[in-house]
């Protein structure tokens, strides 16, 4: 039964001309967009992009390999602090800092992974280990005066300095975050149907069955951890350069872990576009409520809570799962 009609196409990744056209068109539109919209919308778009990068980082570990992290602020913070400290103390450009930040984050991630996956920790236990490490860094950075303590670090503005990833305008940041986001989406889309991606999902679905089929589940989880930590750190560096200010709360804080994980969960964990969709829905919501309820700084978190409960109750596979189901219904009709 090996007719050639099955020759290829269901596993390897390839795009039809139609899809290429849509993607190129969308990218072109996104490149034109910032010149036509007001500055605060550009700011929102940048936030959407940055949180999609970090959401995708979380998604690789939480969505694909099934290890829910409740402490991804750890990697965000390492990304932000590494590049900033290197710039402030050694004058190293954040363009190099971002690479070192990535490596530092991966190193910490692999250490946490070694501690957890070696002993088969998963589910709530892994989530708590991640939270614990994020808090260790949080508290260390609050008390450690040499790295700014609880006051945080201010990056002196050098004006318009592209080589130092500093700009007086928002638009360059828009492009930087857009490109990094496109790269993050591409990487995940590319590995989704590859050996690595299928191994990740097999580990998520059933670890014993995966082992029995020859998958080194420990290795798969470590690889996912490395990709995840690196991607999230990139988001952290861009964020720091964009705001030119970081402190332990806005980087390592537990709320930040929630910010990172809630987008892929709502958008659709374990899907390429889930983090983007979640970010498109949630980022404007949080920016908007923060503006409206300025005096009550926690209101946006309450709204997150409501959205999260609603999504888990009514759309357990996230927005993208819901969209797919609607699409299937439409197609089979």
């Amino acid at each position: 039964m090996n007719e050639n009609k099955h020759a290829a196409g269901y596993l390897a990744r390839g795009l039809g001309t139609k899809k290429w056209f849509v993607i190129i068109l969308a990218l072109a539109l996104l490149h034109v967009l910032p010149w036509t919209i007001p500055s605060h919308i550009i700011h929102m778009m940048i936030m959407i992009f940055i949180f999609t990068i970090m959401g995708q980082g979380w998604n690789v570990l939480g969505g694909y390999v099934g290890q829910f992290s409740f402490g991804h602020a750890l990697f965000f913070g390492i990304g932000a602090y590494t590049s900033t400290l290197l710039f402030l103390h050694l004058g190293l450009s954040p363009w190099f800092g971002i690479i070192i930040a990535c490596m530092a984050s991966i190193a910490v991630g692999l250490f946490v992974g070694l501690l957890s996956f070696r002993y088969g920790l998963s589910g709530p236990f892994f989530a708590l280990i991640m939270l614990a490490f994020a808090e260790i860094f949080h508290i260390t950075f609050i008390t450690w005066k040499a790295v700014g303590g609880s006051l945080g670090l201010l990056i002196q503005s050098s004006g318009n300095a592209p080589l130092l990833m500093q700009f007086t305008d928002k638009i360059p940041f828009y492009y930087i975050s857009l490109w990094f986001m496109a790269a993050a989406l591409y990487v995940v889309w590319r590995f989704e149907k590859s050996r690595t991606g299928l191994y990740f999902m097999a580990v998520r679905e059933d670890k014993d069955a995966a082992e029995a089929l020859g998958i080194n589940t420990f290795k798969s989880q470590m690889i996912a951890m490395a990709i995840s930590a690196g991607m999230t750190a990139i988001g952290g560096t861009i964020y720091a350069q964009y705001l030119l200010y970081i402190d332990p709360d806005i980087t390592f804080g537990a709320i930040n872990s929630v910010e990172i994980m809630i987008r892929p969960i709502i958008g659709g964990p374990g899907t390429v576009l889930g983090p983007l969709l979640g970010s498109v829905v949630l980022t404007p919501l949080s920016e908007f409520t923060r503006e409206v309820f300025q005096a009550y700084s926690g209101v946006y978190l309450m709204i997150y809570g409501i959205v999260l409960v609603a999504v888990i109750m009514f759309l357990p596979e996230g927005i993208i799962g819901f969209a797919n189901r609607m699409f299937e219904k439409f197609r089979t009709r």
Partner: protein, 244 residues
């Protein structure tokens, strides 16, 4: 012991909190054989499979495969050496398609995605799941899932295939189909070690049957001899059944 045995288990024991699950079990499997493993509920059949495939570690004894010690190796390493198992309680990768489930197994021998896809389609054809290839595994019925377990295991190209109750919950027609498949798998050169509860099925299928009770081997013989063994009848039906 001779090197001609494919799998050689010598005196392995395993206990759970003092309770002996497997006690000094020795058995061997020759290349090309179908070896049946039967025993009453709780006799230790699945535990034995878990010991062979590295999911549990024996306390004593040794397990050799193809002449290599495989005790202490991780499950995925044992799979790479050529032993693959199926699970009594099927464990499909529920959110992956049937094709992707099999592809995960196929990657065991090659990294070329084209080869993997072609091989996976062939195996799906072999077990009769081709029409369901693109459906998610959670949409399969129980017989379908059993076939998927088999297909995934075959995709790893094992020398020795451990089947843990692949026919439980199937009707006689489906059992017959799976039996035919098992014979075909053997013909293709794979040695088979199978746990089964359906006596009619295992008697017809096996070249040789090992019976275990309370973690000990009580018989190791041809199906016919095992069926007439007083010790085996007693284990299944209780004392007195032999005379009656």
């Amino acid at each position: 012991m001779s090197q001609t045995h494919l799998l050689n288990i010598t005196n392995i024991s395993k206990s759970f909190q003092g309770l002996k699950a497997i006690s000094k079990v020795s058995l061997h499997i020759d290349p090309g054989e179908i070896l049946g493993l039967i025993g009453p509920n709780g006799a230790g059949k699945t535990t034995l499979f878990n010991l062979v495939t590295g999911f549990l570690k024996p306390e004593s004894g040794e397990i050799r495969f193809d002449g290599n010690m495989i005790m202490g190796l991780k499950s995925h390493q044992i799979c790479k050496l050529g032993i693959t198992r199926t699970f009594q309680i099927v464990k499909p990768f529920a959110h992956l398609s049937t094709l992707e489930n099999v592809a995960v197994g196929s990657f065991n021998t090659t990294r070329n995605i084209k080869e993997v896809e072609e091989k996976s389609w062939n195996i799906l054809g072999f077990v009769g799941l081709e029409p369901k290839a693109l459906d998610p595994a959670h949409s399969l019925t129980l017989p379908g899932r059993k076939r998927l377990e088999l297909a995934r295991a075959l995709a790893t190209e094992p020398k020795l295939l451990l089947l843990d109750e692949v026919m439980a919950g199937l009707n006689p027609t489906e059992q017959h189909e799976i039996t035919e498949l098992v014979f075909k798998i053997r013909e293709s050169g794979t040695t088979i070690f199978i746990i089964e509860h359906h006596m009619r099925v295992i008697m017809g299928l096996s070249d040789r049957i090992v019976v275990i009770q309370h973690g000990e081997v009580i018989a190791d013989n041809s199906p016919k001899a095992v069926a007439e063994d007083p010790g085996v009848i007693e284990a299944y039906l209780g004392k007195g059944a032999v005379i009656a």
